[in-house]
Amino acid sequence: MTSMALAVRDSATMTRRSLRHVLRYPVTIVVSVGVPVLMLLLFIGVFGALKAGLGTGPHVSYIDYVLPGIVVMTAAYGSSITTQSVNRDSTEGIIGRFRTMAISPASVLSGHVTTALIRTLVGVAVVIGVAIGLGFRPTADAGRWLAVAGVTVLLVLALSWLAVAIGLAAKTVEGTTGFILIVQVLPFISSAFVPPGQMSGSVRWFAANEPFTPVIDTLRGLMTGTPSGGTVIAAVLWCAGLALAGYLSARALSRRDLNR
């Protein structure tokens, strides 16, 4: 077998391993889908009546406006599970065993990322299904849905590689809480629930320029309207850039001496 084929085989083995973890302790995945669904219900309940004042357009109901943000939130919650499981691997000693074996070194990490992709895409599908039950009326055709899936995959790749790097860098699971807090709070200060134009001062500037906003705007455009070209480019660049930064840091961290 070629080294490429071996790398794919090892990654598949590692993915099966992480998926087994997910299935054995399903509570984490239930929470990571349950919390976004709860947020969806909460925001529809609180802000649904105010949609006219939010500048979301006369024909768009609030659930149509808010759902893309909930999708991003689901991905963010998913990445906090990823960072914790990578950290558990690297602090519990099993990573030491993997590193003394003749396996593709990247397979340990790509197994986590592939699992995160599967886990999050299933979670997002569940969230969208619940939203449709609650009155979400997307206008996207098959091509648009494919684009939605593509953008979501890019976002999960970016968040997962960052999560892997943080999980490797942290000496204990407590060390990952900073990352978890950031990815869980950022969606609130974005275009997820309220258009940044309605915010004030520095919060408005932050919300307009943080990475989640173009991703949310792109998803919203694809699902219920037409995204602007600039937003799509910004979303893709943010995701690709963060994914690359996360991947390169993770690779460097995984090559360190075991003890350090």
Partner: protein
């Protein structure tokens, strides 16, 4: 005979602290080598360098003929490692852990299942095979760890303090396994703090202290360099000790503790002979104890300082 493991001039510092200070060693294929030393001597770091997870600052390491720094993948294909900290997946069952290893060694499904079942039996884990490792005792975990190392049938195995903190049953299984592996031609490199473990298992021993090999040789050669075993007799009063010293001769007397040290191999027959020679004086003995050479004696003899002076923090850095 070809050497399975060769290290020359290996040096390693962590944050300015010298952990290994020029270590040379050579292990013949199919033999058992023991690196003996206290906590903090650098044993774990040496194993980590040889198993390619830590890079040496200076020096050359060749495992199965491959350079550990330049060709780590070839080294990894030849070795198996069981460390001090059990490297098992706590969220999987014992059997799933073994099958994971089988998959990573690219064994076929049937072959993987066959070897996993055999190892679960060999290591007394068959009953617990379907339980998650999180529920295992420390001894079960270490046995599973070794089984995971063996599933790929490595020709060179590193065991870092394989029996420290183990219950007697797990320790016996561990020793038995090492003997069987060597009988099959596998090379074993094991670190230990216990002289008797090295004595039981090793063909060659090197004593590591403060990152340097201070003595090397066969167990017999090493023991000859250590002060012999002795029987210690504690007396109730000075009258008894004086009488005993006269009838024995060649003993060493501690007046302050009223004890007499008599060179002896410490066996039952030797002790009986000794007490017979004392005759009636034996009635004055308050306590008889047998003292055999241990790592402290080795260290004191070889380095002139007791083991307690070495600091434990570097060895357990992780």
């Amino acid at each position: 005979m070809t050497s399975a493991i060769m290290a020359a001039g290996v040096r390693k510092s962590f944050g300015g602290k010298v952990v290994l200070d020029g270590v040379d060693l050579e292990v013949g294929a199919g033999t058992t080598f023991s690196l003996l030393g206290p906590n903090g001597a650098g044993k774990t770091t040496m194993v980590q360098i040889m198993s390619t997870v830590v890079h040496a600052d200076v020096g050359e390491v060749r495992i199965a003929g491959h350079d550990a720094a330049r060709n780590p993948v070839a080294v990894r294909a030849a070795i198996g490692v069981t460390g001090q900290f059990s490297a098992v997946d706590n969220l999987l069952t014992g059997e799933e852990n073994l099958l994971l290893m089988a998959d990573l060694h690219h064994l076929g499904r049937a072959e993987g299942r066959r070897r996993a079942a055999a190892l679960l039996g060999q290591f007394d884990l068959a009953e617990a095979a379907a339980k998650t490792v999180a529920t295992y005792s420390g001894g079960m975990r270490r046995r599973l760890d070794l089984a995971m190392t063996l599933i790929g049938r490595p020709r060179i195995i590193f065991l870092d303090e394989p029996t420290s903190g183990l219950d007697p049953r797990s320790r016996r299984i561990m020793w038995q396994t090492v003997r069987e592996l060597v009988a099959d031609g596998v090379t074993i490199f094991l670190t230990t703090q216990q002289l008797d473990e090295a004595d039981q298992l090793a063909d060659q021993i090197a004593v590591l202290d403060h990152g340097k090999v201070v003595a090397a040789g066969t167990p017999d050669e090493l023991k000859r360099s250590i002060p012999g075993a002795h029987v210690r007799l504690r007396f109730a009063d000075t009258k008894g000790i004086e009488a005993a010293e006269r009838s024995l001769g060649g003993s060493f007397r501690h007046d302050d503790s009223l004890t007499l040290e008599v060179p002896s191999d410490g066996g039952a027959i030797a002790v009986r002979t000794l007490l017979n020679r004392l005759g009636d004086t034996a009635a004055d003995i308050a306590e008889v104890s047998v003292h055999t050479p241990d790592l402290d004696d080795v260290f004191f003899a070889l380095t002139g300082h007791p083991t307690a002076e070495t600091t434990p923090e570097t060895e357990n850095a992780r």
